[in-house]
């Protein structure tokens, strides 16, 4: 049974990813992206990471996808879906993509780790979120602060970039 | 050991720096005050440097007036400065020449005067730093510091195509110093590799024997770095450009002191640290310097521009100095050091004389002049004396230096002596031909008629040089006695036979004893 569920979810994510890349219409590709993110969150659940799955849905599928679609709404439809889809030598792009895929999958196959304690200590007295909270605010407090600053900077950057009076 | 128990060397080096700060605070428009303050700072610096000469103890070869302060402890860098017989006179030459060069610019430079004086003061600090630092890292730092003011001096106050000249000068010397940086780092790590301790103290590095193949590469690196600075024969093409475009003061300091850093570098790095290599490369360097002597003389003969002529003549003079040094004999070495001082005095003076007529006529072409003897006789006599000193006529300083080098070279190999004995002939040819075309003959150019003779200020900076020309010529003992023991020690270092250390087998095997023949 798990095999089958995994297969379905994997199929959903891959097709979603392909869809975002290939679809002619920008809105369609946005929706395909959301599908892909949902597929991935499903996979996360299978990997005993329910909190992260939820996070995935909220952050990726929710915030980012909505943000993108929101910005697309601002723009004129013709500009978004103009007919030229691919760059001039896009074939080179595909070849490099496939090459990258081959490389990484070779890495994946050759990869050896000891699977002795698989799936262990992912939960603290039963709850994955508690465990994450505990580790996050104990060992990784400093990176956490840094991430806060990164987000702040991104915020300011976005505001500054889109100010009206930049003399082009 | 520091006889005076007083950081005199640091004082001498940093007085000009303080002066520079002082001048920078003054306002740009009262030029006269700026010039006077700078001049007095430089003169004070000279006076402060005189005790070096009087308290110098000529009986020991150890470094004197030493100051040692750990700088970056972990890396082993120290602020370690001191002088011995070899660097004593180069320091004095610097403090003696710079005020004279500055005095000569009172009427020559009048745009951006404040900047110019600051540049001269910084240059002085840089130059002094090079001669006194005994820590190779500190040496390299000062070596770079003194490059920038010179670059500015030629670049800003220079002649028509000064940008090209100063760019060439800077990049050429900089390439050399990059080579030196690599060699210094190699030395630093190899020293650690053999003695297990990180140190950049020159005196210490002189003692560590290195395997031959490493010695060879480092010797070549230092050789190239200093050969560019000296300049030895194939690396000299930046010198005529730099001199032609540099202002008078720049030329004087460039010829008087900067070129000596190259030869000084040989005496501090190449000879003591890589003895076997020095012996192997001796004949190669001597060949190069002999070519330099004759090549410099031949090309100088046909130069239309006085400054270029004098520039090529310094290639020839320093060829003598290098010949004396690599003859590896006591007299040759002493002659080479004396020749450095002589070259500083006589070529510096020649550039000042050219500066005087350049200020009046704004041209350096020999064809423009003629018959100055009847117009400005006093100038002609000064010019004559300095020409004679650079031709090495007995009684002037040139002769003593050259004869010692000849004697040294002759002692090490008869053929060197015989070939170089004819060198003096060609130096006479180019100097006298130039002198004849500038000073003798009839006055053909109408513009020359209005020339005024030398004013008081020009007398002021010519007479000290004159005194030195005759002092070294007639009684050189004051100089030679001071440097004798240090040169003997240097020769012992060069001739010391270190047992060859091959490092193929165990790495940290202790170093076999170093046999140092007592001087």
């Amino acid at each position: 049974m798990a095999e089958f569920v995994f297969f379905v979810l994997a199929l959903v994510t891959i097709v979603g990813a392909l869809g975002t890349v290939i679809s002619r219409n920008a809105y369609a590709s946005a929706l395909w992206m959301v599908a892909a993110f949902l597929g991935v969150s499903g996979l996360f659940i299978m990997l005993n990471a329910p909190f992260i799955a939820m996070l995935q849905i909220i952050v990726y599928a929710g915030a980012i996808a909505v943000l993108i679609i929101f910005v697309m709404m601002l723009m004129d439809r013709r500009v978004l879906n103009n007919k030229e889809r691919f760059n001039p030598q896009y074939l080179w792009g595909v070849v490099l993509g496939v090459g990258l895929l081959a490389d990484l999958s070779a890495l994946a196959f050759k990869f050896r780790i000891n699977l002795s304690h698989i799936g262990e200590n992912l939960t603290l007295n039963g709850s994955n979120t508690k465990m994450i909270g505990d580790v996050l605010f104990k060992r990784y407090l400093f990176p956490f602060e840094i991430t806060a600053i990164i987000l702040l900077i991104a915020l300011i950057g976005a505001v500054v970039l889109t100010r009206k009076d930049i003399n082009t | 050991m520091n006889q005076l128990h007083f950081p005199i060397l640091s004082l001498i080096t940093y007085i000009p720096l303080v002066g520079a700060i002082l001048v920078s605070l003054m306002s740009e428009n009262n030029k006269k005050m700026i010039r006077f303050v700078t001049f007095s700072v430089l003169v004070i610096d000279f006076i402060v440097s005189l005790p070096l000469f009087f308290y110098f103890d000529p009986s020991t070869y150890h470094m004197q007036f030493v100051e040692r302060v750990p700088w970056i402890k972990s890396m082993g860098f120290q602020y370690y400065i001191g002088i011995d017989g070899i660097s004593l006179f180069l320091v004095l030459l610097t403090t003696f020449l710079t005020p004279i060069a500055q005095l000569s610019t009172w009427s020559a430079i009048d745009k951006k005067v404040k900047m110019f004086n600051i540049v001269i003061l910084l240059l002085q600090t840089g130059m002094l730093g090079v001669f006194i630092s005994l820590d190779i890292f500190l040496f390299y730092v000062f070596w770079e510091i003194q490059l920038i003011p010179m670059y500015l001096m030629i670049g800003i106050w220079g002649g028509p195509n000064r940008v090209f000249a100063t760019m060439k000068f800077f990049l050429y010397t900089f390439a050399g110093s990059v080579l030196m940086m690599i060699a210094i780092m190699a030395l630093y790590f190899l020293n650690h590799h053999f003695t297990g301790v990180y140190t950049t103290d020159m005196v210490q590095l002189m003692k560590t024997p290195l395997p031959l193949h490493l010695q060879m590469w480092m010797f070549i690196a230092f050789l190239l770095a200093f050969a560019i600075k000296v300049p030895m024969w194939p690396f000299h093409t930046w010198l005529p450009w730099a001199h032609v475009e540099a202002p008078t003061a720049g030329s004087v300091i460039l010829a008087g002191v900067l070129l000596k850093m190259g030869t000084y570098g040989f005496l501090r790095f190449n000879l003591p640290m890589f003895p076997q290599m020095t012996h192997e490369f001796a004949s190669f360097v001597v060949a190069l310097s002999i070519i330099g002597i004759f090549y410099g003389a031949f090309v100088a003969m046909v130069q239309p521009d006085i400054k270029k002529l004098v520039a090529y003549s310094s290639v020839s003079h320093l060829g003598y100095s290098m010949l004396g040094m690599f003859a590896l004999t006591q007299t040759g070495m002493e002659g080479s050091i004396l020749q450095m001082i002589n070259h500083g005095v006589s070529t510096g003076a020649l550039f000042l004389t050219v500066g005087i007529i350049y200020e009046r006529r704004h041209t350096r072409l020999i064809s423009e002049y003629g018959g100055l003897a009847s117009l400005i006789p006093v100038f002609a006599t000064f010019f004559m004396i300095f020409t004679l000193s650079s031709i090495a006529v007995p009684g002037t300083n040139g002769f003593v230096g050259e004869f010692m080098i000849l004697l040294g070279a002759f002692e090490s190999n008869h053929i060197y002596g015989i070939i170089v004995a004819f060198g003096g002939l060609f130096s006479a040819v180019y100097m006298l031909t130039m002198y004849k075309r500038v000073v003798f003959l009839k006055v053909t150019k109408p513009k020359n008629l209005g020339l005024k003779d030398m004013n008081k200020r020009e007398w002021a900076y010519m007479v000290p040089l004159l005194i030195f020309v005759f002092w070294i010529g007639i009684y050189p003992n004051t100089f030679l006695s001071k440097m004798r023991v240090s040169v003997e020690h240097l020769l012992n270092q060069v001739n010391r036979t270190t047992v060859n250390v091959n490092t193929q087998e165990s790495r940290l095997q202790p170093i076999t004893t170093v046999v140092v023949k007592k001087g």
């Binding site: 890349v21 946005a30 892909a36 500009v79 760059n87 993509g97 990784y140 956490f144 976005a158 | -």
Partner: protein, 98 residues
């Protein structure tokens, strides 16, 4: 079993990369960039599960934060491109060319 998961993550990454390389529209490029980032994040979680170490998941949070801020900046640039040139085609923006 782990290999299949990793294959999925790698596939996601490769498809995202290809999308970045071949698509002309800047927004699509941004989206494929997100796909790539997500693929990388997924690998973290896979390893967390198979190595039995929670840090992977904690790392995913940071990756997500970075992804979000990166998209924000990307979109701001997209808005600027749209305002300046009225087109989102990245080939029009080659001012840095020789």
């Amino acid at each position: 079993m782990i290999v299949y998961y990793m294959i999925v993550a790698v596939l996601l990454f490769a498809i995202g990369a290809t999308g970045v390389m071949i698509r002309r529209n800047f927004i699509i490029v941004l989206m494929s960039l997100e796909i790539m980032l997500n693929g990388a994040g997924m690998l973290l979680i896979i390893m967390a599960y198979y190595l039995g170490n929670i840090s992977g998941q904690v790392m995913f949070i940071f990756v997500a934060a970075v992804a979000a801020s990166e998209t924000a900046i990307g979109l701001a640039i997209a808005v600027m491109m749209y305002k300046r040139k009225g087109s989102l085609d990245i080939n029009n923006f080659s001012m840095l060319k020789k």
